[in-house]
Amino acid sequence: MGLFNRLKAGLQKTRSNLLGRLGELFSRSQFDDDFYDELEEILIGADVGVETTLEVVEKLRTQVKAAKVTEAAQVMEILKKQLLELLGNERKPIELAAEKPTVILVLGVNGVGKTTTIGKLASLFQAQGKKVMLAAGDTFRAAAIEQLEIWASRSKSELVKHQQGADPSAVLFDGVNAAMARGCDILLCDTAGRLHNKTNLMEELKKVLRVIGKALPGAPHEILLVLDATTGQNALAQARVFNEVAPLTGVVLTKLDGTAKGGIVIAVARELKVPVKYIGVGEGIEDLQPFDPAAYVDGLLAQE
């Protein structure tokens, strides 16, 4: 079962009902080294990462000892509380700017699902009765503009585009102006995938930010980093570098419909305090969900 399905099921499940490995683990009567070793494996296996995992497990060990906890259910509670502390307890949806348009810039490395997420977000806002515009800021990848065009028509949004190879800043500058002129509520800006270690592409991003800010002071109002749940520890490096260049307001975690758990978002939240706002759970236009930290932690710990 994919994490998403577990996620859906997660909340209904009672603690004692947790199946499989973790259930077994927590049915033990002894919280010894083996117990913590195995818990370590579960977290590392979910891509939470060595450093964060060791910290979490160590803290759990101390707390369990100090509070003289003997009940498995209580240990589980402490663990969940800890993970939620790192992730942030609350849902953090996108907030609209006081004055329209709200400009949302979507960033990430290649192939993580930026364009698809934009299509899904557009549809979400459209359903709320908002007027949405998309700007085709990926002028690099072959047929990236055509791809966004299809999402624009699927979500009944307006589209601003230039030719392939055009300056992305120019496209997004036009996008902001067009969104203002046509009274759009929301402008979603697509960008080309870029590996965070490519200095020239990160420089390009700085220019994009400057130009958007020039067209509309205060914009972009949201800067979302798209992370692929399949990605391992590198996602943390991505988040770090992108956050340095463009202060992130949120993360979208995609491809949670597979078997990957995307645990690296815990490390990202722990270090950068950037909240996860949405999760991607498929390729369809409806396959976007607001991120629910508690349900996510439940899903993460419910191993099959």
């Binding site: 990848r141 791809q147 020239n200 758990k261």
Partner: protein, 446 residues
């Protein structure tokens, strides 16, 4: 680059081991604990790590090995051997059909890089005077067909497509078409799909039986985490995987997924994709990758890469200069011209042993067009004397050079600094050269 931090970790561990006289069981455990953490941090799947570590431990504790080697050597040798075994020992070639065309299917998760890799592979084959046909069988992702068509046009490689029709029909028709039009390779770009999507996995299986490909290449993002084993296992279960393409290796991921996928599928990693440019695609060298994990660096790969780009004579000249360490700013300019063809400098540096850190220092030194033009202008504004002996360039000379080249004194300063870093690198390289690249796969102390 990948494995960079992993190899520096391992190096640190082994340095500690080497410093000691004898290796106790406790030492082995302590060392392997660090190996374990380093591998986990590099995203190698935890089960694969567990297997690996226990295999090494088992062997390391065998007394017959202990007898003939020093303790440090023993552990390094075993880790190296096991890692090499796990990665696959030799570079693997593409399978050939006995009767052309050879059919190659690219499969994998969404966003792994199948379409780009298909085009890059077509480009590689075309350069070797083959006549590939690209087939667009991704009928799901918006504008996926268009993407392949644009790439095909850029390469002047024809693209076969039948719109959003059943891809099984499309590939069958494509094969017929290729036979008629005498293409010797058929490269099929399939839609990205999740390994748990029964319906779409079944579609792949039907495509396989329709065209009986010689190659089914699983395209894997080098940044993949722990889930790599599940993905690889599912694709292996449903299809006759013949190889793996590892993509996005130009990132700074440590790429442990390579080990995981190898361990699960047993299929060789055949190609490495190292950039967005169409020619950033090369044969994967597993043995060298293993020595890279161990901090051996990949000098061989570097040399091969350099040789392919440098022409013979220039290479000989440069080698001479490196030996004598008479490396001037003029050579530097020429060097940059060559490097521009070879790709980012820091990427090359990471492949050389002991140069991981140096690569970081040179990060700001990516040879981009603008910077290159500036460098060229600065060097051209120097007198012959200055080019041969930059030590004489004092502050008034710097001002003159800056004015002459339309740059700033800072630009001149930073170039001179880069040059001196480069000189240091050349020195290291020539030291290595003396140590001999030829003794490949061996540590000097082994």
């Amino acid at each position: 680059m990948i494995f960079e931090s992993l190899s520096s970790k391992l190096q640190a561990t082994f340095k500690r081991l080497r410093g000691k006289g004898k290796l106790t069981e406790k030492d082995v455990s302590a060392a392997l604990r660090e190996v374990r953490l380093a591998l986990l941090e590099a995203d190698v799947n935890f089960k694969v790590v567990k297997d690996f570590v226990s295999k090494v431990k088992e062997r390391a504790l065998g007394s017959d090995v202990l007898a003939s080697l020093t303790p440090g050597q023993m552990v390094i040798k075993i880790v190296n051997e096991e890692l090499t075994k796990l990665m696959g020992e030799k570079a693997a070639k593409l399978n050939q059909a006995s009767q052309p065309p050879t059919v190659i299917m690219m499969v994998g998760l969404q966003g792994a890089g199948k379409t780009t890799s298909a085009a890059k592979l077509a480009n590689l084959l075309k350069k070797k005077h083959h006549t590939p046909l690209l087939v667009a069988a991704d009928i799901y992702r918006p504008a996926a067909i268009k993407q392949l068509q644009v790439l095909g046009e850029q390469l002047a490689v024809p693209v076969f497509q039948m719109g959003q029709q059943d891809p099984v029909q499309t590939v069958r028709a494509a094969l017929e078409h290729a036979k008629k039009t005498q293409h010797d390779y058929v490269i099929i770009d399939t839609a990205g799909r999740l390994h748990v999507d029964e319906e779409l996995m079944d579609e792949l299986a039907r495509m396989e039986s329709a065209v009986q490909p010689q190659e089914i290449l699983l395209v894997v993002d080098a940044m993949t985490g722990q889930d790599a084993v599940n993905v690889a296992q599912s694709f292996k279960d449903r299809l006759g995987l013949t190889g793996v393409v590892l993509t996005k290796l130009d990132g700074d991921t440590r790429g442990g997924a390579a080990l995981s996928v190898r361990a699960v599928t047993g299929a060789p990693i055949k190609f490495a994709a190292t950039g967005e440019k169409i020619d950033a695609f090369e044969t994967f060298h597993p043995d060298r990758m293993a020595s890279r994990i161990l901090g051996m660096g990949d000098v061989l790969s570097l040399i091969e890469k350099a040789e392919a780009t440098f022409d013979e004579e220039k290479a000989r000249e440069l080698e001479q200069k490196m030996r004598s360490q008479q490396f001037t700013l003029e050579d530097f300019l020429e060097q940059m011209q060559q490097l521009k063809k070879m790709g980012p400098l820091n990427q090359l540096m990471e492949m050389m042993p002991g140069m991981g850190g140096m690569g970081k220092k040179l990060k700001g030194m990516n040879v981009d067009e603008k910077q290159f033009a500036r460098t060229e202008a600065i060097i051209k504004s120097m007198t012959k004397k200055e080019r041969l002996n930059p030590a004489i360039i004092n502050s008034s000379r710097r001002k003159r050079i800056a004015a002459g080249s339309g740059t700033s004194v800072q630009d001149v300063n930073s170039l001179l600094k880069q040059f001196s870093t480069m000189q240091k690198m050349i020195k290291q390289l020539s030291k290595l050269e003396k140590g001999k690249f030829k003794g490949r796969g061996k540590f000097p102390f082994m």
